[in-house]
Symmetry: C3
């Protein structure tokens, strides 16, 4: 894919990725609320919390007034994702574990890893900072939703989830700031994140524990 | 109630509502800590966390140094609420579920929905942003206290709680920025929030779940 | 200890205390993750969350871009603490409860109470604000790690933990801003915090509960 094609496909990469991420994560968060049999207000709160927690944290970290408070369109996109989740929940049982939700989650993770990398790069933060902000933007929503739902063990520790966003953030940094292909960086970050996440889910990837390392040594 | 009466009754609406909210929420938070049989330091931490979490989050969202760090009076008001809770706990058993605590919680919710709406309006945020900040300022304290106490399911999802603050925020926006009655907006927000909360508690109001909607359709 | 000796021992007090705190708290957080049998990525996330949550919250409260995002050395120090925890876990069983970990935690608490007091003093915050920021910087990491691990009851409420940082913050304020011995303030804060914490652990100190007060009165 040449840089021109990427520009045509992505337009303003931040706006495109932000739109995709908000709808996808609001959908996933609302599905979590539906699975917990919350009422409609509770479903909306989990959906909005999952859609906005990562981006608001990102904006606070780089000292910006959160975008979510400045633009009514942002909250509208979140409500759209929630509406889709409620409509689908009438057709599907256990929406949280449905493949549509798992894929939406991977897409939201990839979209928000990319918005995080873009904002951090614009803010002039160090390479490790870009990777950290990409991960926080991407994994923060699911983490906050799970904290609200008082779930254990935390989604962040289950398997290749936040680590996919770390790989995406590294790709962004290598292609954009290092490689000078600004237009390609967003596409690379989103692609690497969503692919590693979907492959990890499909094959049940997991990293070794300290206990595994000890057993290896014994 | 004419605007003059409101001004006399409320003086500087922010200062009045902030004072009421800090004492009320510190009282409720400390009562939660007493019910969990925490030691005095633990009681104080839950009380202060409940009193300050919403307002600190509000200040971070609109990019202000949190008021709580600038004025020693703020922490003093929190400690007053905690002291009241400890004194009352000697007279009452199970202070968290006592009507005094439930009413304090509704009053704190209304007071902080109002401070949130005032600060967001001053910060020049959009209408949906005003409503969101009112809700976060009002419901954030109870939410954070419950996260600290590792409780499930979260208070935010139980019933008409955060939604009362949303109604209050909408009232503030309709009466103040839209209606031009600045002096009345705070009174309207506080009244709507506290009344809907107390009525919801009295009548056990709840919203339907997605499962209810599905059953309706079946 | 004269002020000259303190300056020689501590150099730039912030840099020294920040380095000690990051390595110590990353070590303790990673040990918590190892005890929960998380995989290597999960161990790293709990370690980094414990090392950085307090300082990032401190920086947000005083309106600074978090130091952790500006300097790659910061994340490197966190990774060093995590590596030490993994290496030690092969030698030790149950690393979280090992004396090395308990002492590291007390040292991290003292180091971060000191960095919090230094940053708050530089930001021109009130006396109670200095004490609050010292406590949040010191106890925030352990609190956030426990929230991530969905543990109950929360470490903050167990015994003399955050209260040691409060005593440290008071010492800093008395020696530095009040006493005018800037060079001694950091040493006083760190010493008071680590000593009260280690003594409290050794002797099993605890504060009375509201129920104890009621029994005393009966």
């Amino acid at each position: 894919m040449s840089q021109d094609v990427a520009t045509v496909l992505l337009g303003d990469p931040f706006a495109v990725m932000n739109t995709i991420g908000l709808v996808a994560f609001a959908f996933v968060g609302a599905s979590k609320g539906i699975d917990e049999e919350f009422d409609l207000f509770g479903i909306a709160i989990v959906g909005l919390a999952m859609a906005f927690a990562g981006g608001v944290t990102r904006d606070l970290l780089v000292m910006r007034v959160p975008l979510a408070l400045q633009s009514p369109i942002e909250i509208g996109l979140g409500l759209l994702g929630i509406l889709l989740a409620i409509l689908l929940s009438i057709a599907l049982s256990s929406p949280e574990r449905h493949p549509v939700t798992v894929i939406s989650d991977a897409i939201g993770l990839a979209a928000f890893a990319t918005t995080g990398a873009i904002v951090a790069t614009e803010a002039g933060i160090s390479a490790l900072g870009i990777i950290a902000v990409a991960m926080i933007n991407a994994a923060g929503g699911g983490a906050f939703a799970d904290i609200l739902l008082d779930r254990s063990p935390f989604i962040l520790f289950e398997d290749f989830y936040a680590s996919c966003a770390v790989l995406g953030g590294i790709s962004y940094w290598l292609v954009g700031p290092v490689g000078g292909l600004e237009g390609m960086a967003a596409a690379a970050c989103a692609t690497i994140t969503v692919m590693t996440r979907l492959i990890a889910v499909s094959y049940g990837w997991s990293l070794p524990t300290a206990q595994d390392l000890e057993r290896l040594r014994a």
